[in-house]
Symmetry: C2
């Protein structure tokens, strides 16, 4: 049955690419690298009950398993090409696999990403996806290039996914007039859209970049650590959706925006002289972009509240083993 | 804590390679492909209680998680270069991670394989490794090239890993004079040695190749299906270790050799005119090699018993969802 599951996934994710010399069905896939490119590779795992709530729709899981990995490529400024899938399932559940493959394919197709190999095994529900993308030599965005004086920016809005998880954990009545807001937030949790076009546009422009998977404070903290700098953020500048602000008081919305995981927006730094150009470039792509603070001497991330005082907080984003 | 685990693994698996432009510690690794090579990629998962018994030593799990993947590269004739690790653990257990990383590194180091990225998550013990290797253009071994009249060969001995699992499931007394035989078989289960040198030597020589992960009948069956041929195997020719034959009656030893999983030997086919050269080449590498049968018209795998009659068997190797 293992092989039937792989074949089922293969059929639903078929994506012809000339550079796939040998795809699913042998001991390994064989791929041709384009000349003059480097290979960006990442792997991320989703575990039921940890990275998505039990009961999440199979198609949402399939989408998200790929999205969180494509978000890593976006953060490097890489263009996606190929993926491997390691799918561990409690039982050979064809309906689950069909839904999973459909969600995966919905995200893969517009990016012409080909699923080239995989492994299905029996065990507690757990999905690892490895993705491969191309980036011009020495042009990959990293976490390490932020300099004092650079502006700190983020794409999109922050805190929506955390508010989506909150909504799932606090069911509401069907006739609640704000159902649509909750559904928007749950969609943000279950169907994150990796910022691939924005990441590619930031190559050669941003001095450092990371995706926001563990929360803004944690991921901006990674940029600060890797770059040997600190950052100062203005709470009033944090972009928050009207759904988030309508459903939560200001303190909760701020908490979600600073520490909520799973947003998969990009956080990046830009030298002052390029700021206007970068903002214009991303806006042309239809990607919301907001300056939220600046890089400073020192270490760590500080947040100034709307009253002008620094917020008192010891610890940052969500860590799985925290 | 997630980041400390990755750092711990990084330190214990450090492997300098010029082609790793950016290793563990950013959103993705960045790698430089050598010119004139294709990329072979595979992913395999080990789940506790399915792919290794509960209580297996961490170092053995680390070794095996890499070995089963390198075996896929061996089956393609590819040379290993880079790996990604997705490690899901019930708790942040530094002792386990240290042991795991040591076992992983013991196998990685002689092959100059670099761990370039990973993800550690909380959940039931489950390990996915993705490996990347190089193979000259259009030279990858596949399952699809076997032709009628080709000889069928295997490396090493078959059935040891299944007998090792049997030994673990049937504990013996410390003063049993055959303890060393059981330990040999358990070592074969826990520390499979991927046949990388043999696989590389078979490029341009073998007409088809697969590694024996699911058992000889299943994996040779994959070659037959992919090649559109059948195979006939002689039971008396199957290479079996003296440990296997000393501890088990002939019927059990045959069953393990035909259907036992986890041997990670190579099964391959060779045109008759190249047979002697291939056997000599592999012997020079110190790799045992045995002709066990031939490719015939038709489909499926038949086995002739020592009495000259075909064995009666409906179904083949071990499948996880069988």
């Amino acid at each position: 049955m293992e092989f039937d599951l792989i074949e089922l996934i293969r059929r639903r994710t078929a994506q012809p690419r000339d550079d796939v010399r040998l795809g699913i069905g042998d001991d390994a896939a064989v791929l041709a690298m384009p000349a003059g490119q480097e290979l960006a590779v990442a792997i991320d795992t989703l575990v039921e009950g940890v990275h998505f709530p039990c009961g999440t729709a199979a198609a949402d899981i399939g989408w998200k398993a790929l999205a969180v990995n494509l978000s890593d490529l976006a953060a490097m400024g890489a263009s996606p090409a190929w993926a491997l899938l390691a799918l561990t399932l409690p039982a050979a559940d064809a309906a689950f696999v069909e839904g999973f493959a459909d969600g995966f394919a919905q995200l893969a197709q517009p990016h012409r990403l080909a699923l080239v190999g995989g492994d299905t095994t029996r065990g507690p529900l757990c999905i690892s996806v490895a993705v491969h993308g191309f980036v011009p030599p020495a042009k990959a965005l990293t976490r390490a290039g932020a300099r004092v004086g650079d502006a700190v920016l983020v794409t999109g809005t922050l805190g929506d996914a955390a508010a989506g998880l909150h909504a799932l954990q606090h069911p509401w009545r069907d006739d609640d007039p704000r159902s649509n807001l909750r559904e928007f937030l749950i969609e943000r949790l279950n169907r994150p859209v990796p910022r691939l076009a924005a990441g590619a546009a930031l190559r050669g422009q941003a001095s450092a970049c990371a995706d926001i998977s563990d929360g803004l404070l944690a991921d901006l903290g990674h940029i600060c650590t890797a770059s040997g700098v600190g950052a100062e953020i203005e709470a009033v500048l944090l972009p928050r959706s009207s759904a988030l602000l309508d459903l939560h008081d200001d303190a909760t919305a701020l908490h979600f925006a600073l520490s909520g995981g799973d947003d998969y927006e990009l956080c990046f730094t830009v030298p002052a002289q390029r700021l206007a150009d970068v903002q214009a470039d991303l806006s042309r792509l239809g990607c919301g972009v907001t300056r939220i603070g600046r890089i400073v001497d020192g270490s760590g991330v500080r947040v100034r509240g709307s009253d002008g005082d620094w917020l008192n907080m010891d610890r940052s984003g969500w860590e799985h083993f925290a």
